[in-house]
Amino acid sequence: MSGKSLFEKVWEDHLVSAETPSNPAVLYIDLHLAHEVTTPQAFTLLREQGLPVRRPDLTLATLDHSTPTVPVGSLQDLDVLSEPAQAAQIRQMAKNCADFGIELHGFGSDQRGIVHVIGPEIGATQPGKTIVCGDSHSSTHGAFGALAFGIGSTEVGHVLATQCLLQRKPMSMAINFNGRLPVGVTAKDIILATIGEIGVNGGTGHVIEYRGNVISNLSMEERMTICNMTIEAGARAGMMAPDNTTVEFLAGRPQAPVGADWDSAVTRWLSLPSDDDAGFDREIDIDVTNLQPMVTFGTNPGMVVPVTDPVPDGNGEPSFRKALDYMGLESGQPMQQTSVDIVFVGSCTNSRLPDLRTTARVLKGRKVADSVRMLVVPGSEIIKQQAEAEGLHEIFLAAGAEWREAGCSMCLGMNGDNLQPGQLCVSTSNRNFEGRQGIGGRTVLASPETAAASAVNGHITDPRTML
């Protein structure tokens, strides 16, 4: 008999009942993350059926998607700071949490921030847990060896009411990263190149385990960047083996176990990595030795090239042409000649402290080009404080960038931080879909290094020229 993979171990550990041909598995959920956009309809369902939230203690709620990125003192401030619909949604979230006994990390809380940033930050995200959220970037938490995936609002209702989900067991895929990562090439470039390689539907139906020496050498923040974009390859979840880096990251976090509980948790966590003889339904090898900084040129994250390349030609394929028309790009034109209107450093992909430090390193002693507006949006209140304690915000402000409050911001443009039609944005977020950052807005996905270098030059720039 072959051994078990990390995914199989976590899956089997949470089966309230296993699947049969006629019924899906009942899977227990250890941590439910909630935000204001995908939960209102679920709370309505609970109210209609007179149901309580089964485990408020396993529910972590925050405000991130439609929140302003200017300072908000209290919910009253939203009258002037937000559009009425956004304000109503945020107030509804506060009321739902109050009515159902869920602690809300809202305005005024030190622990408010993008839902996928705060989970790990407060130590709620832990190896071996099942974690869900009404948000596809739940895959982020897989960096800790958790099984974490996005669900719809109906399923949010299922978890609120029963702490369980009905699931069919996904297939498994291993992606092995080997070789040596060149200087100036980041975790963001690894995942963009991977999506380019396997396609935006390359992972559909699968849970991916990212493996290999390249992964073990990454920090937790870098691992999260990779797992975050797993959904952009269509996969159900992305996972990485917990190791000493994971354990060190979690030590001393507010919700991490303490004392004897910590010791036994660590023992359990370190037993989770896939057995040597574990089997996968699919296996892919990627050598990173010749990897370059990557940028997207089209309207999905699989349309990606090295920053030093020209825009590809796509063999005249209609959706390819439509994408280039939308982006205002021509085949053959060097990516680096593309001029930039906005630069956004933020989102659950790249808004953590190391991302802000790299951004600052590029900007230090330089200026954002006059033609460019640059926003730097920290992923959480804690990151904001830490960045300010290190003086990073002074570097951003001196360079002419805006330094804002934590939230999703321009990643999805729900809170008023939008692109105008035709504007091109180099963004450290995860989706370059048409209109994602504002109607008619054009998104080029890149690492914080590439984003910052592009802000300085006013056109897309290979960051290795500024390191």
């Binding site: 006629s22 009942v26 227990y28 109906t154 009905l166 989706r431």
Partner: protein, 194 residues
């Protein structure tokens, strides 16, 4: 949820591949705190001009579109965000099935919970449907078959449990609530606790 046993309708075709949920339901409509009324916003950025006027050549704006229950779309429909507002919008517009060669996982799950059938066909059938927009198709949920006017009849994959829920109009929450004893037992006996 209403029972869904049978669909008999002309199709609407959107041939683009990789249509993501940001296109199906743009982010600015996610401020809704209810499920209703999202049909208006369906494909908003492709469907309306800057001044809000419907674009005549967009498939959903053509005469009779509101009566059609079947959308035929390019490969890999529904990728991206988990927003259930996408299937809510499709259902509110009047769709009961989407036909493609592949669906994104979360979209497929969300659809089945809202009486919308994500129907996977082989490439030949798909190409025929893309090339013949507006044909009348017949979908039988109980036998999981799709019949085309050219005489083709194809079975499509449909999870038995989801099929049962569609046919009976069952909401899956009821099934989970009935598992309460097993869930409590699991919480008590598991080796470690979150």
């Amino acid at each position: 949820m209403e029972k869904l046993t049978h669909i008999h309708s002309r199709t609407i075709v959107l041939p683009q591949t990789d249509i993501d949920t940001d296109q199906i339901m743009p982010g600015r409509f996610l401020t809704s705190t209810t499920r209703e009324g999202l049909g208006e916003a369906l494909f908003a950025d492709w469907r309306y001009a800057d001044d809000g006027a419907p674009l005549a050549d967009f498939a959903l704006n053509q005469p009779g579109a509101a009566e059609r229950q079947v959308l035929v779309a390019g490969n890999n429909f529904g990728c991206g965000s988990s927003r259930e507002h996408a299937p809510w919008g499709l259902v509110d517009f009047g769709f009961r099935a989407v036909i493609s060669t592949q669906f994104a996982d979360i979209f497929r799950n969300n659809s089945l919970k809202n009486g919308l059938v994500p129907l996977i066909v082989d490439e030949d059938t798909h190409n025929w449907l893309l090339e013949n927009p507006g044909v009348t198709v017949d979908i039988d949920v109980a036998s999981a078959t799709l019949s085309l006017p050219n005489g083709t009849c194809r079975e499509f994959p449909l999870d038995g449990f989801a099929q049962h829920c569609l046919l009976e109009g069952l909401d899956q929450l009821g099934y989970l609530l009935n598992k309460e004893t097993e869930i409590s037992h699991f919480e008590q006996v598991r080796r470690w606790k979150p």
